[in-house]
């Protein structure tokens, strides 16, 4: 009898194992344009070579920075029709929206059993964790505190070394202005671009450690250093193109390529964009960290989580394990123009990416506000509004007040 039960159990078990290796798995993302779509398709193809019986359903929703995709995802999650796994920025974007209401499965034990838990830097694991449990698996890493510059113009206006302090940076901008070029290309039609500059200035002003403390309640937003950061933002506005409110970030980066602007403070997806335009990293354009943030890696990371009640949970786990592997990470990232979230994966042969991957292993990691890692999305919208107001009115006091209100609204104001 025991034997029979054992056989039955075994057959059921093996059946489920075979079953797990077939069927479907749905991956939801907003990777529809340029290198990112290419990277996703290449990765899905590679996955299919390993698991030919699992059909991958590639559910993508177009739209910049995932605004449309996020709306679709929310509707599906609320309606009880979650995808098997979905792309989400590391941190609060996932935590506030889906982890707190109890819609996600913790992944810590899986990461440990796959032997990859310690392959990611601690700072990143902190960002994707809530109350000690990891809720999403990082695939890509972008850095946002990088200033790119047009090498030709940089030399032409008589600059010989990359600015390392705030004053040197302002001097460089002055030189560009005197030579008749747009010193700092900015395109903030979508608001987050200006917010991203402001958050980098906050990192520079507070330092990574204190900046991170702002978002776990150990340090109040009501701080003189916030004023300083906002004042620096106002100062930078003297050097941007006047039509910044009509441009998107690509248009702004393009000004460098067209020899119209010298500097561009943008996430390193701009690096990928320059390459698509035909520029060679290190030859046509150079880069340096925003002065004051040399020791910090301001991070934006695409991660994948496991919703509760995923229709193909077993396959989703197989896919997640694959995405966490060095094989997937080394394949996906160089095509997209990001670096692997795993420290032991190969970043490819681009000099910028190699250097960034090195920095990623050693520097302190700070989460981005505007890309949803540092704070709940309700804060992000209000923060962007505040900076947008600042850029237009140059009223530091008012912008700070708006940020304080935003912090209060999501219980981040500690005093």
């Amino acid at each position: 009898m025991k034997k029979l039960v054992g056989i039955v159990l075994l057959s059921v078990l093996s059946f489920t194992m075979i079953f797990a290796q077939s069927g479907q798995v749905e991956i939801f993302s907003w990777w529809t344009g340029g290198g990112e779509e290419e990277a996703l398709l290449a990765t899905i193809q590679d996955f299919n070579e390993l698991y030919p019986n699992i059909q991958v359903i590639n559910a993508t929703v177009a739209g910049g920075a995932g605004t449309n995709a996020k709306a679709v995802l929310k509707t599906r999650m609320l309606g009880g029709n979650p995808p098997d796994t979905f792309q989400v920025h590391a941190g609060w974007e996932l935590t506030d929206t889906y982890v707190l209401p109890g819609l996600m499965e913790p992944l810590t034990n899986y990461l440990k059993s796959w032997g990859v838990y310690d392959k990611f830097p601690e700072g990143l694991i902190d960002i994707v964790s809530y109350q000690g449990e990891v809720y999403s698996i990082p695939l890509t890493v972008h850095r946002s505190n990088v200033v790119f510059y047009n090498k030709k113009l940089f030399n032409e206006i008589g600059l010989t070394k990359e600015p390392e302090t705030w004053n040197e940076f302002i001097n460089a901008l002055e030189k560009a202005k005197a030579a008749g070029y747009t010193p700092l290309a900015m395109g903030d039609k979508n608001k987050w671009e200006a917010g991203q500059i402001a958050e980098n200035l906050m990192v520079a002003e507070f330092g990574a450690v204190n900046y991170n403390k702002l978002f776990n309640g150990e340090l109040s937003f009501n701080d003189k250093r916030l004023d300083n950061a906002l004042e620096k933002m106002v100062q930078l506005m003297n050097y941007v193109n006047v039509d910044h409110a009509a441009l998107e970030w690509q248009d702004a980066s393009r000004l460098l390529y067209e020899d119209k602007a010298v500097f561009n403070l943008m996430g390193d997806w701009a690096e990928g964009y320059f390459k698509t335009l035909g520029w060679i990293p290190g030859e046509d354009f150079g880069w340096f960290e925003l002065p004051g943030t040399q020791a910090v890696f301001v991070l934006i990371s695409d991660t994948f989580g496991l919703p509760k009640n995923a229709p193909n949970r077993e396959n989703a786990l197989i896919l997640l394990e694959y995405l966490a592997s060095t094989r997937a990470q080394s394949l996906f990232n160089p095509i997209k123009g990001s670096i692997p979230a795993r420290m032991d994966a190969d970043p490819g042969d681009d000099p910028y990416l190699i250097q960034t991957a090195e920095d990623f292993k050693t520097l302190i990691i700070s989460p981005s506000i505007v890309h949803g890692s540092a704070a709940p999305e309700a804060f992000v919208t209000s923060f962007n509004d505040a900076i947008n107001n600042l850029v237009t009115t140059k009223n530091v006091k008012q912008a700070k007040q708006m940020i304080l209100w935003a912090a209060e609204d999501v219980n981040l104001l500690t005093d």
Partner: protein, 307 residues
């Protein structure tokens, strides 16, 4: 049972399904939105908790104290006003020209109607390029480049990225109003054209025999007869303008310091980005009230007219 009664009964059963659907998907959902707008559901967690906590009009209060929403309301007012005026004036003007039945007028009639067939998103993107200011004065774009080539550089302007305003009217709305008028005036023209062609020939001829000039003919005879058309045009354009989203979202976003922001854009951001469902529902209800304020008097008057 009389035939009359039987017919009425059959009629009732025929429309019953649609009544039921409208009841659920329109009125019940409006009720749900009102309910949400008076709740504390301003995060995913509180929404999914399923627990309804009534907070009265707190979300509305918060909105009316919000400078961005105040800007939105002013923008809606001015946008509606100028968009309506633009469409009606241009519509009448074009309809009158087409009505003269000159050679090629049917070609132009179709040409003027074309924009309406295009999606607002396309219109917004293209007019966004046209009115993109460029980095003036050194490297202008679009219309600014045209002005420079014509030697009128002093007319160059920041267009929809301008933060200038006259009183509460943000000048950045002007390019948006132009784009919207371009899109919808052909439709208004078609409405007026139908109205003009419906005016009996004899009436016009009689007036002409009495010696009415062209202007007199228009203002004394045609215009009064077109009043119902004007009213319907105002309703159609008015409710479109109160809930406008796609054109502005594609063309300008919400602009620097929300100079071209509209309630619908704010609602979208609050709902799908900030997860503030209660606030977003409150905006939706305010928009509903605005549209109702335009539509209900019209429905009432036409209902009375029918009786």
């Amino acid at each position: 049972m009389s035939v009359q009664k039987k017919k009425a009964r059959a009629g009732f059963f025929i429309i019953l399904p649609s009544l039921a659907f409208i009841g659920i998907f329109v009125y019940y959902f409006i009720f749900l939105t009102i309910r949400t707008s008076t709740s504390n559901w301003n995060s995913f967690t509180s929404l999914l908790s399923g627990e309804y906590k009534f907070v009265g009009l707190r979300n509305y209060q918060r909105l009316f104290n919000d400078p961005r929403f105040q800007t939105d309301l002013w923008n809606t007012l001015f946008f509606t006003l100028f968009f309506l005026a633009g469409c009606i004036i241009l519509g009448i003007f074009l309809a009158n020209i087409i009505d003269k039945k000159l050679r090629g007028s049917s070609f132009f009639q179709n040409l003027f109607l074309f924009p309406m067939a295009i999606s607002y998103v396309v219109t917004g993107t293209v007019w966004g390029w046209i009115f993109a200011p460029g980095n003036i004065p050194t490297s202008p774009q679009g219309i600014n480049l045209l002005l420079e080539n014509l030697g009128w550089s002093n007319l160059q302007w920041m267009w929809y990225t301008s933060t200038q305003s006259i009183g509460k009217f943000n000048l950045a709305l002007i390019p948006v109003i132009i784009a919207a008028t371009w899109q919808m005036s052909g439709y208004v023209m078609a409405m007026y054209l139908a109205g003009l062609r419906a005016i009996p020939e004899e009436m016009i001829e009689a007036a002409q025999v009495d010696g009415a000039t062209g202007t007199q003919l228009f203002w004394r005879i045609k215009f009064p007869m077109l009043r119902p058309i004007t009213l319907s045009a105002m309703i159609v354009i008015g409710h479109m303008s109160l809930k406008i989203f796609d054109l502005i979202y594609a063309m300008t976003g919400s602009g620097p310091n929300n100079v071209t922001d509209m309630p619908a854009i704010y609602m979208f951001e609050q709902m799908f980005r900030s997860n503030r469902y209660a606030i977003a529902s409150a905006i939706a209800i305010i928009m509903l009230i605005m549209v109702a304020a335009v539509i209900i008097p019209y429905l009432y008057s036409s209902f009375r007219g029918e009786r």
